[in-house]
């Protein structure tokens, strides 16, 4: 006999404690492919740097580590807000879920705005893809990541619409968890990119 406030177990809910991947298997395959691409890029940066140490050290000095760190914190905070959104959906609270997603999107937009300022300052210094090996890596690595932030914001916006429509519930978390996993991946990659490109010399 179930108490009135006990949700009915759905037929496809595994017993508690069974290992489960949060999100669709397909998004995780995609995430792994993305991680490998970024990983190859990071290794290429590190080994190229080993042959141009003075150049990399000199040109890295021109980067603004403060705005780089602010951007790191914006992505981390955005990821935290997405976790809160997922937790809200997990306790059947669609309105807070949607509000946390708006907060996450706002942080992501903040990242974009700061990055665009950084790029415009770099272009004023004459930084181009062909001006030096460091500039080539700096622009291509950060821009590759920047495109992922843009795609992530599109995904978060779709999740926000879904949350407003009350689509995510404790037994129907797949779409929300899949989008959340992608956004966390964008954050995870930046956690290597920031120390590697802005700090290590």
């Amino acid at each position: 006999m179930l108490a009135a406030d006990t949700p009915l177990p759905s037929l496809d809910t595994p017993p508690a404690g069974t290992p489960r991947l949060a999100g669709d298997l397909a998004i995780w395959i995609f995430i792994l492919a993305e991680l490998l691409a970024f990983g190859a890029f990071f290794a290429a940066y590190a080994f190229t740097r080993a042959h141009h140490i003075e150049l990399f050290t000199h040109e890295q000095q021109a980067l603004n580590r403060i705005t780089g760190a602010i951007n790191t914190m914006l992505l981390l905070t955005s990821s935290y807000f997405v976790v809160r959104a997922v937790q809200a959906a997990e306790r059947s609270a669609p309105a807070p879920c949607a509000r946390w997603l708006v907060a996450a999107i706002a942080c992501g937009v903040g990242f974009i705005v700061i990055k665009l300022h950084e790029y415009s300052a770099a272009f004023e210094r004459g930084v181009t893809l062909s001006s030096s090996p460091f500039h080539m890596f700096y622009l291509s690595l950060t821009f590759f990541h920047f495109m992922h932030v843009l795609l992530g914001l599109v995904i978060l916006s779709a999740l926000w619409l879904g949350a407003r429509a009350g689509r995510y519930r404790p037994n129907d978390m797949n779409g929300l968890e899949s989008g959340a996993a992608y956004w966390h991946m964008v954050d995870l990659v930046w956690l290597v990119l920031f120390p590697l490109v802005y700090v290590i010399h």
Binding site: A43, R65, V192, V199
Partner: protein
């Protein structure tokens, strides 16, 4: 139904840890510290932050074993390559 995504309180404490790690990384950068020991320290900070994202925020703590090996393993592999590259570029 068991919770896969933990409690808001835990997520908030971990967020504070992530911010603290970022400020430490920034301080090292502003200090201009260099050397293989500093690279190792930055790698450890990054790996700890990454583990929070991977195990808690991505909820892989509750995923099948393969995923708990492959995703953190990616980060260990990347930092190992960065450390080897840094070491190979040291003057000798």
């Amino acid at each position: 139904m068991s919770s896969l995504h933990g409690s808001p309180a835990r997520a908030t404490w971990l967020w504070l840890l992530l911010i603290a790690g970022t400020l430490l990384t920034l301080a090292i950068g502003e200090e201009g510290a260099a050397g293989i020991g500093i690279v190792a320290l930055l790698a450890v900070i990054s790996q700890i932050k990454g583990s929070v994202i991977i195990l808690d925020y991505m909820a892989l703590r509750h995923a099948p074993l393969l995923w708990r090996i492959v995703v953190p393993g990616w980060m260990i592999a990347v930092w190992s390559l960065i450390a080897i590259a840094y070491w190979s570029g040291l003057p000798r």
